[in-house]
Amino acid sequence: MADSYIVSGNPHWHAPVSTRKIMLDVIIALSPALIVSFLFYGWSAIFVMLESIAFCVLTEWAITKFLMKKPSTIGDLSAVVTGILLAMTLPADMPWWIVLIGALVSIGVAKMTFGGIGQNIFNPAIVGRVFLLISFPAQMTTWPAPNGFIKNVDAFSGATLLQQVQLLGADKADALVNFGTLFENIGGSAGEISALALLVGWIYLLCRKVVKPWITISIFATVAVIAGIFHSIDPMTYTGPVFNLLTGGIILGSCFMANDYVTSPMNDWGGVLYGFGIGFILMMIRYFGSYPEGMAFAILIMNMTVPLINMAFHQRKYGRK
């Protein structure tokens, strides 16, 4: 036989999936929230976003080329996703050099130090955000008033609703939030302002079978139950379930960060436990901590437990007890 043919083990074809396609789906899922953020904050939100993506991709490219001396991995688009997620946790008027520092920490420290995609213990975007929050507390907690194409009459610059709990009292803060808020903007970072757009994106990911719902549902359920119990005991001190489910970074964190493949458990039930942990820590920080918001910390703390959870939870095997 003159011709030669490929010989290799089964299977002989592949499902139409790849890391790049998965990341592309995540980017598509985040786009409604990006559009909302543009509408509310105008071009400045887009600039922060583009800076963040560019810095993240450049950092990864430079590290693979000059330090690791390996083929570049930026083609898998995971650095783009990190860039978008990082930008969504930042105020829309962030100076570019702070965004750069965030990107260097996210990609350089949290991702590439561990060996790059798939190896990191902590969610890179959250590490970047927390680093900036600790290093630049003033810039990170001062939110510009929405001055984009849609203007909210009641919008205020300065503090987010979570920050106002201490000023206004839980009952007044509660009264500001209802399910109608889903459609409105609540002052805050790009990622915080439209719960609905983020949920739409999450549902897209569910339909595309990119993520499973268990971690996200577990966080929401834990937060609702804990807030429900505390709120019913003392509504003057503790904010209620609706307030806690709709404010801050909980939706962005639960739908796009806590369920990140690399830093979350492999098993569904492991994911439920992990989600419970995040919800619990989040509520403890919100009620008793000195930070108004604890989503980032809650996810980072639970990221550390993932190797242990992976050891404890396994698939049900066929024909074995």
Binding site: M1, V7, S8, G9, H12, H14, G118, Q315
Partner: protein, 471 residues
């Protein structure tokens, strides 16, 4: 009624059967045929003819050599030209009987008529003997000798269900389907024969819901024959439904334990084509010398897809030539389906009892993704029908010398269905590595079992010695 399927894992490959509506055609005999001695699971058969002997179609030319082995018959009449090793599809040297074909004159005692014999003999032992004498093996892929499966070892549980596997869950393959469309009655009679041999368990003919025409065809044939205790069951399409363990779980809601046989949960699974071969053997005394092969792929024009009835021993290249030659765009030729078939290294190899397809894939379809880092998405464990964690097994294998942990995580249960590699977005060669790990673990398990047996025997021997001393 909600449709049945298995509950752990599985994937949904693109449903693609371009040869579905091509009626079965007969292939003319080539000048020379090459009959492999190792075309069944177990010991290779032992030739009983010599070079220069005249043979007739259907004549026994090699006997089974061992408990798990099968008889082999001449696919045509002619002269034995040589008995010598030849490379099989993978290039391994296997003894073959080479026959110069002179015609198609059958041995005596074979009913070559087309009429359907629906009256089933009473004598189960006689039927079992015929199945053995006619060299019938499982044609769903494993080629395990059928007479052994139909005659469970003494002490094993009674067969409660006979599952006739018509799921043909691999894309592209249509040989089982065409047989169900064109010769349904013979399949059903074959099933009824096996049912009787097994002592009358309930018989379910299992077909996936993407083949409604096959369901109708089989239901009509069953209604005409009127056998009791037999039904056609529709299953929800999912790969690998045609795998024995998955089919048992789908239909009976029982799981076969690790390393155990289906009969341990009261199940016997036989493929539809095997049922057809059983019919031919018992009702017509016709040995297994032909089967159906699908010539198909994704780089063939519509008219170039075929289903052929071939004589076992025709070179695959002869079948390919007859069908119009290997297409230019073909980069890989597979014997079997895209998920579990075997890549053909040697197209000049002889067709065997288990040959079910010649599948041509172009490079774009069959190329593998460039391997990237695992992103721990868990798609592989979601896809694994055995509930294994391929990412973990792959990691343990790559770490080296972790056989204990691999065994603990049940690498030996892998059925090599390919779902993990198929669904991995990072293109990691999961199954390639897991297959090697599985072989290592299984040989360690065998060595341990042998050592345990030897030490038990030594202990027994020393005890008898001590007892003899006492006396």
């Amino acid at each position: 009624m909600s449709k049945l399927t298995f509950s752990i894992g599985g994937v949904h490959p693109r449903d693609c059967k371009p040869a579905k509506d091509k009626a079965i055609e007969q292939l003319p005999l080539p000048e020379t045929m090459y009959v492999s001695m190792a075309q069944h699971l177990g010991a290779p058969a032992k030739p009983i003819v010599a070079v220069g002997d005249k043979v007739k179609t259907g004549q026994l030319i090699a006997e089974s050599a061992g408990f798990i082995s099968a008889m082999v018959h001449s696919p045509a009449s002619g002269t034995v030209k040589a008995i010598s090793p030849m490379p099989d599809i993978a290039g391994r040297m296997v003894p073959h009987i080479i026959i110069d074909v002179e015609g198609d004159e059958w041995v005596e005692g074979v009913d070559t008529g087309e009429d359907i014999v629906s009256e089933i003999p009473e004598d189960s032992l006689m039927m079992l003997e015929r199945i053995k004498a006619c060299g019938v093996v499982g044609l769903g892929g494993a080629t395990f000798p059928t007479h052994i499966k139909l005659n469970p070892a003494p002490g094993s549980p009674k067969a409660e269900a006979l599952l006739i596997n018509g799921s043909e869950c691999e894309p592209f393959l249509t040989s089982d389907y065409r047989l169900m469309i064109e010769r349904p009655k013979r399949i059903i009679i074959g099933a009824a024969i096996m049912q009787q041999i097994l002592g009358g368990p309930k018989c379910s003919i299992c077909i996936e819901d993407n083949k409604p025409e096959a369901v109708t065809s089989m239901r009509n044939a069953l209604a005409q024959l009127g056998y009791p205790d037999m039904e056609v069951v529709q299953l929800k399409k999912k790969y690998p439904q045609g795998s024995e363990k998955q089919l048992i779980q789908a239909v009976m809601r029982r799981e076969v334990g690790s390393g155990a046989l289906p009969i341990s949960v009261g199940a016997v699974v036989q493929n539809v084509t095997t049922a057809y071969a059983v019919y031919e053997a018992v009702q017509k005394n016709k040995p297994l010398i032909s089967n159906i092969i699908t010539v198909t792929g994704d780089c063939l024009p519509v008219e170039a897809h075929h289903n052929y009835e071939f004589r076992i021993g025709m070179p695959l290249s002869y079948i390919a030539e007859y069908a119009g030659g290997v297409p230019k765009a073909a980069a890989k030729i597979v014997s079997g389906g895209p998920m579990m078939g075997k890549a053909i290294a040697n197209l000049d190899a002889a067709s065997v009892k288990g040959s079910s397809s010649l599948l041509y894939f172009k490079y774009e379809t069959t190329k593998r993704l460039v391997e990237q880092a695992c992103i721990r998405c868990g798609h592989c464990s979601d896809a694994c029908p055995m509930g294994l964690e391929p990412f973990l097994l792959n990691r343990l294998y790559k770490a080296g010398d972790r056989l204990d942990e691999l065994e603990k995580h049940a690498v030996q249960d892998c059925i090599e269905c390919g779902c993990c590699l198929y669904s991995c977005p990072a293109g990691i060669p999961l199954l390639d590595n897991i297959r090697i790990a599985k072989q290592q673990v299984m040989s360690a398990m065998r060595a341990r079992a042998a050592a345990a047996k030897a030490s038990a025997e030594a202990k027994a021997a020393s005890e008898t010695k001590a007892e003899a001393k006492k006396q």
